[in-house]
Amino acid sequence: MEQGSLLVEWKKDAYELWINLKFEFLKIRRSSKLLLAIGLAAVLPLLFYFIPLLSGGGFPDNAGDFISQNMNFVSLIIVFTAMLLAGDIINKEHSNKTALILYPLPQRRTNILISKYVVSLFSSWFALFIYYLFTAVSVALQYGFSEIPEEMIKSYLFAALYLSAVLSVAYFLSAWLKSPGASMTLTFFGVMIFLPITVRLLDIIGIDSSWIFTNYSTIITSIFRFPSGQFGVATAITEDEFYKAIKVVTTSAIIFFLAAFGLELNKEA
């Protein structure tokens, strides 16, 4: 009887979640943000292909160098996409007063929050996929299809994981701050400037900063194994560092998501 009622509850929740997912997807599709994120993800690799082609500047000798150089900008795409798709996803409901309609409805708030996160996560993964796809197409056009390395899939999967962490930060800030503009701005500057500065300051005073996930954005490029995409004295990453990166990035993604969840569940509509 209990088991049966639990299954009934879950079934009801699943239906609610499905409706919310569809609703959130429609909202994000109608807004220009997704289009903007996808557009930027498509245009940037094409610029790297067409500018040397048209200017006669020349391409690197091998596909690996070309990819490594292009991938230097993937962090920017990640932060920009997370900022656009999740930077105001929660507080916008409060500032537009739509939370007053949404939250009193006979449905779980957890389902609303999960659907918001899932839709923004999958949309940003899709934008990132477009970036990788267009880079792969550029490689195929310039160096041949066989030159597309297997590492691209690994790099994409790590980049998508890193994106989840950045998205969770954006999600957390949108739950914590009241102003959508402030949370979006803080997402961008926080991940691009404040966290790297914190890492640097901690390094100066001799405190371990390896728990800050922004330390590991370079792994997206390092997976390609080429030194050309690196800054400074090139150092190869070890398997242990890779595992540590995965642990830190995944934990950050989960912690920031749960923190946002906790904040929003305790809020009044």
């Binding site: 209990e2 009622s5 639990l6 509850e9 879950w10 929740d13 699943a14 979640l17 091998n62 690996g64 160098d65 779980r108 957890t110 389902n111 999960i114 996160y117 899932v118 590492e151 690994k154 999967l157 790590f158 994981l161 989840s164 792994i219 390092s222 997976i223 194994r225 080429f226 030194p227 050309s228 690196q230 800054f231 400074g232 004295v233 090139a234 150092t235 190869a236 990453i237 070890t238 398997e239 890779f242 595992y243 995965i246 642990k247 990035v249 995944t250 993604a253 989960i254 998501f257 749960l258 969840f261």
Partner: protein
């Protein structure tokens, strides 16, 4: 008029005397017999035509064999040559935003055997590859004088070992989805628990 011609004659005479003295003083005594070094030092006509690596894109830790192809364009054999090969890591920008120079590492500094006239000599050496972008430089010296055509420079890259296995990524994604699934499932369990407690209290 007469005095003018006298003056001109005196000035002319003085000029001739001065010119004569000048021509005498500008001549160095024994000039023609003084030995001069007006001929360039003749260096052997040796050229490093190519340097090849056993692998174009070596991997870190790999033993890379390099071959230096030396061509002797002279009609006589050359001995006592020293081959120096160095690699220097290219640094783009260091973490502090400054460019810095890495010191070149000598991988070969050997005296070569006599290279016969009009022949090609191949020197083979090896080094252990370390991750990075490098400039490879070779130079031949004959009695400490660098032979210009032997300065051969090229860049190469050393790849890092393959990194990132699928297992770690699979685990990471599983944790992410498990968190989302548990957040979806847990509220119903809590609800039923509280409902059950409430029913028990009513019954009591």
């Amino acid at each position: 008029m007469e005095s003018d011609s006298k003056k001109i004659f005196v000035i002319g005479l003085l000029a001739v005397i001065m010119l004569f003295n000048l021509s005498i003083n500008s001549q160095v005594s024994g000039f023609d017999n003084f030995p001069t070094l007006n001929q360039d030092l003749t260096l052997p006509k040796l050229e490093i035509s190519n340097v090849t690596l056993s692998d174009d894109l070596p991997e870190e830790g790999q033993n890379v064999t390099f071959s230096v192809i030396i061509v002797n364009h002279d009609n006589y054999s050359v001995g006592g040559l020293v081959l120096l090969a160095t690699i220097q890591q290219i640094v783009l920008v260091n973490p502090h935003g400054q460019t810095e120079e890495e010191k070149p590492v000598t991988i070969t500094n050997v005296t070569l055997p006599v290279i016969p006239a009009n022949s090609v000599y191949v020197y083979t050496g090896y080094f252990i590859a370390k991750f990075g972008q490098y400039t490879f430089t070779t130079i031949l010296t004959s009695t400490l004088v660098k032979i210009p055509l032997s300065n051969y420079v090229f860049t190469f890259e050393v790849l890092s070992p393959p990194v990132g296995d699928w297992k770690g990524l699979r685990i990471a994604y599983s944790w992410l989805f498990l968190t989302l699934i548990s957040l979806f499932l847990v509220p119903s369990i809590i609800d039923i628990f509280y409902r059950k407690q409430a029913v028990r209290k009513i019954k009591e």
